[in-house]
Symmetry: D2
Subunit: 338 residues, 4 copies
């Protein structure tokens, strides 16, 4: 790391910081400039709480040089990770499409949805049984009963099931029914949950929190990887910004950026990423053109009657039309869509 | 709520929406303007998933009229809630000051800290035993051993203990040692944890997530209140913005705004809210002047050696100086500081 | 507009607000709910300073119903506007590609750039002669001499010239040489400049300010349209968010959103929108897939020697490769690229 | 600056970058770490377009070490600048209070306002004659006639006049009537205007743009200082964030942060910083407690009838009450308020 001393820092402060760097097992190099003195500390800064040094005497700022994540890094593993779960293939040229309702509402609803999204070309089924909801007065999901409905829909259609798990203690239960465990945006830094997901053998879909930096997302993935599970998909689902015409802002530059930093595949969620049905298809296409390895999209038999997220759910015909557009862009990108 | 129809919406769409409103148990009023038609739906919109209506035919947007939280609302309870936990009084003219290190590192460190912050005027001790950390490679806290060290420090100084709980399954354990349970910013929407905190009899310090709206914060509080625990303090600890000269942006207007919406007391965290020690004292004073009911501040015997958050921790002398300034502003505000 | 009264608002306050609404020439409808009283004001709210009503007694909030822009609105003109300027066609199925260096540095540099981008398929040349720079110590552009170099490059290649104008008093001068006048992001709300651009007969490329809402962008366009110039292209070039891995965050959902609100064409700037050359091509493709009518891209003979924006400029071979990818996506979208 | 090379960067790339650094007149030091190679470039990096180096072969990132502003820096001038303009003193222990309506609406209105704010303790009068407005359909100000009304109010009360100038070509005219020229948030990077303000002898109140970084604000000030005018006040008036309960987010930590970087005084605008009258007084007090050197506040005889900004304007009695609270906090801070 680079320690920038304040202009006019005392000689004793500089010597103190050099000793600090050495005591942390790093090699200091002192660079005296005309305006500032800088200490370069060479070594593995990941083991060092940078904060220690920032509060040192005469220190102006500390600039880290190394990324703090390791296993997720392209420097550790250069070939792309391909995640496979039944009918779903994501990464390495495969474009997975996960579609279905926000919440599992009934067996009829989820089976009808599974059939429709499969027919339109989806390769996995989404549906929430454990629903984290902003308000305690909203529908909270059918829990295990919902998981059984999802399993029935898989039985019926062959589609892999992707569903959310909201607490470490539920991982075993959800893994009994699901093919892929989703960690929601609100839980991206629920470390107890990340660790539990790291100990299961189910692939994980890890959603970016709405104010998480890319480094924080990769460090969250690192918790799962470090606990032993290498089948992790990252999901961009939009960030909180000042924009009010969309519910979140979907920053697609994260797709190529992540591909330049990590071997993990990247899935785009244009439903949460916009929060308005009329914008979803355009952003699904844009996600593919930006290089996404997968999409996750909310589709409902009757969005007007949906118990959650109706404002961003597509009808079956809307989803079919979206898929037609996506297929053309995927072909232009030479991505396999099934 | 107000349903704004698109210009040129069909008559059948308007009639359809009127029926939808009625089927949700609300009373529709049709308002035909020269440019737009609007349907006002009168009734308790809190029970209704607004999304249902937004996806209706011909609908441009749906504007909610009622706040979605109830128990937290000033409309439900107009006198301010005062939270009391041993030596700590927060709200109703009492300014509580919670201070101590980010992490409990050793019994010696926490007892030394407790003595120092008490001497400077703090009315409660903070210290983390369960530490949610961005990187899996960072110090994760001493867990139950840390809780015991905190209890020893309380024994020694009489200061109430405020410490974080990170999972619903830990609530009982942490409540055995702590006087106040803190819910961290990353867990503000960990509903399993919120519900478990709602069932304990310990007061709760609920931190705002860095991208949470005030409505989301109050709905998170509502989970705790709705589960039976009325002793909730809200904590403003900074939000994620584009500003890079501070780690987070501390938006103090939330203090008077919250006081205009809820009876719950508001605590300000100038340490996380700025992320840089030299800015903490000014923001502590500003928090009091904005009307805060409490402060929570990171103080460490030797920030340069801190296992976490050294860059935003004060030394004992810095904290004493901060408290001297705060006492003057508190006097100007007619707040009691002990 | 909808005036939501506070719970427990006095009858005299309600009557006062009804009179206020009437005095503004709007028709009030009083809706008494179980929890709140609401006054719907029907009429053209664009003429009314909403702020007047918000400060009224007993008022909780005022919700506008109509968009404040008119001429830019799809409700005023439903067919898409096509902007034509020499070799450049933008809108109505035509995808314009504007490319070239950030700054015009020399006649040789701009002519070399013009030839290269034309060969790769660009339909217009960009290059700055008047450069608004963050620091007073940075290169500020060659001014009129730069405009002459741009004209020479047009002479040489036939490409239309797009260049920035930074003050109302320069509009006439710049219009003498340029085919399209660009209003930069920093000047999106420089109303004196907008009005002057409204009085010229050159088409305008209006860039969104990094913290402007879509409504503010459309109102800025409205200044130009209202002054008489109907040839306006809107340009999404990224917004300021907490993300630090890109210089700005490029929110492509603005493309379909704008198409749902305005007839004006939308150009995407993936260079400023990311601020890093390696991310530009992916976001150019994504912009097209999202429905953009044009692209504006920074290309430089030798980015390492560029006097500005080298970090986001493409080399000629990088731009050629980008264009090959864009052509495939444009074909998938059935857009004409020349 | 520090050039971080990619892992596995080629030796020839490293040598190329060393030559680049030398060709820019800086002294390179090569630091080979176990994981990365870093090149430290010592010298005055302010003269160098950093972008040049970032696009070099094998470069991962370039970290600047020096702040890019000079004259504004505390390193250049360590004693605080005190700005004086007639009745107004700002900086060096003097707390200036600038108050008045958003727009000058009539001579009667501005004189009545001047008397009222003077009586309550304000030391300067604000009022807009040239109004930059988001919508072309809003009231745009009385222009020179408004300036004359301001001069009349000064004549009547002795209060210094602070008013906005929106274009370089107007500076001379506005300076004829005003004591302080205000550069609005929308114009913070209108460099033509900054330069013109740098050539006048009137003090300048420079407002931070809603998405400007502190570095950008100081560089904008640098344009004025570099052109010869040393009497510059910086004004924090709120930034654009995701928060919707306030019109802007007022980040008061900028006050102590600016004091640690620059000698220029800092004024806080709690009216625009919150956008809601009921929040203004608390944020005015908080601004003082954070260390502000001045306040600028919107006050109107009848906010319900204001032609602009009624929602954030105080009545005369509200302003008097605000001033009573501010006086107490100012006394606690040992600031002079007249």
């Amino acid at each position: 790391m680079i320690i920038v001393m304040r202009r006019g820092a005392q000689e004793q402060d500089i010597q103190h910081m050099i000793q600090q760097v050495e005591s942390l097992g790093m090699k200091p190099t002192l660079l005296r400039g005309t305006e500032r003195t800088v200490i370069a500390a060479i070594g593995d800064e990941r083991k060092v709480p940078v904060g220690m040094l920032e509060s040192g005497p005469g220190v102006d700022e500390v600039l880290p040089v190394l990324a703090p994540y390791k296993i997720a890094s392209l420097e550790t593993k250069s070939e792309p990770t391909v995640v496979r779960a039944g009918s779903l293939n994501v990464g390495g040229g495969n474009l997975g499409v996960i579609a279905g309702p926000c919440s599992v509402e009934s067996e009829e609803q989820i089976i009808e949805s599974a059939r429709a999204v499969k027919k339109a070309g989806a390769t996995a089924l989404r549906g929430g049984a454990f629903k984290p909801r902003t308000s305690p007065y909203s529908f909270q999901g059918h829990k295990e009963a919902g998981l059984k409905m999802l399993a029935a829909a898989r039985q019926e259609t062959g589609l892999a099931v992707v569903t959310e798990v909201v607490a470490g203690e539920d991982v075993e239960l959800v893994a009994k029914y699901a093919d892929v465990l989703q960690i929601g945006a609100r839980n991206m830094q629920n470390y107890r949950l990340l660790e539990a997901c790291g100990r299961t053998d189910r692939p994980i879909l890890l959603k970016r929190g709405p104010s998480a930096t890319i480094e924080e997302l990769l460090l969250a993935a690192e918790y799962i990887l470090d606990a032993g599970n290498q089948q992790v998909m990252l999901c961009e689902r939009g960030i909180r910004t000042f924009e009010a015409h969309t519910r979140f802002t979907l920053p697609l530059a994260t797709v190529p950026y992540l591909h330049s930093k990590t071997h993990l595949p990247v899935v785009v969620d244009p439903s949460h990423g916009t929060g308005h049905t009329p914008l979803v298809a355009a952003m699904a296409r844009a996600g593919i053109a930006a290089g996404a390895d997968g999409l996750i999209v909310e589709v409902h038999p009757n969005p007007e009657k949906a118990l959650s997220d109706g404002y961003q759910s597509m009808t079956f015909p809307q989803f079919e039309e979206m898929m037609a557009g996506c297929r053309k862009v995927a072909a232009a990108m030479e991505m396999k869509m099934s």
